[in-house]
Symmetry: C2
Amino acid sequence: MISISQNDIKQYDKYYRTHLINSLTGFKSVSLIGSIDREGFTNLAIFSQIIHVGANPPLIGILFRPDTGARHTLENIMNVQHFTINHIPASHARHAHYTSARWKTSEFEACGFTPQFSELLKAPYVKESPVQLGCEFVERQQIQANGTILIIAEIKEIRVAEGTLLEDGFVDLEKAGSITCSGLDSYHTTNKIARYSYAKAGKEPEEL
Amino acid sequence: MISISQNDIKQYDKYYRTHLINSLTGFKSVSLIGSIDREGFTNLAIFSQIIHVGANPPLIGILFRPDTGARHTLENIMNVQHFTINHIPASHARHAHYTSARWKTSEFEACGFTPQFSELLKAPYVKESPVQLGCEFVERQQIQANGTILIIAEIKEIRVAEGTLLEDGFVDLEKAGSITCSGLDSYHTTNKIARYSYAKAGKEPEEL
């Protein structure tokens, strides 16, 4: 094993440290967040700091960098209260990464994604996405340690590709074709190892 | 696409809803958290609500369910201030899942993992893990919407398998053999699609 101390981390240049630390949480949830401003101008941005918060009510969390400079997605969420979370199919990994550039036009058009609206939500979904969540703002918390902002939202609508919703409610993301990411710029498809039965002490989990 | 409304979600039975909502954030970071109580009794538990919070200082976040009942990991973190985050190799997916049972003995021994201590940290690492993080408690926040608790911690020590730390600081998690999970009980290995160059408007990202 290679061992890296807190002191080493401090002394690395910014670029190296950013790549290193961003790798450490493991493979991450990665999605495109669709939003819209009060004038109806759409925005699409790739995010990997997305976390499950609770099932009842259905809550999801997204961590934003401190809101200095242009943070259109956060601004739009605060102003319009609605946004969408859209999984990324493997065929569109490059296009999804491309949304992280500084665009003056809508990233939907610039990066080859199609906005799609439902009756329930003000914000646009991504038509190409196999799993789409319509979300409404619930709560905002500021992390004192570095000023990042945690947004908690409730899931108001779920749209999943046909054939991916299994009998027990589990959505087969591998069948849906959703990808995962690691670090700042690496994208991956997955291979299922197994689903395991609910764990009980003294009885090894079985494959479902 | 299959469309599910907020009303549908409310009316599902608890089991179905839990599987469904836990699937929606996409593939998740999954790790074993190693901790120790004041008497030196070790604990090991699997967590998928882990999030990157910042690179400088190096911060990581973990979301815990409301602390009713036995929440040994959270108690240990609050009491001892140190804990470890350990990626899971594919060979140990079943063992890692098994830590979620209610054990009265240490999950290290019960589930076949080896505790390993460094000089810098009170909490035990998992010897079998390809990426190990030594963490110190920084901040605690309560999510008002459902009472979950977000713990922010600083990374004090990083231990990664030889040959996985690349020139630019990126840790090749696929080479390390770290896995990802989806839903409550599904585990997956990964296949790299590509790493893409820093995105600039008007110039399609290139493979690195």
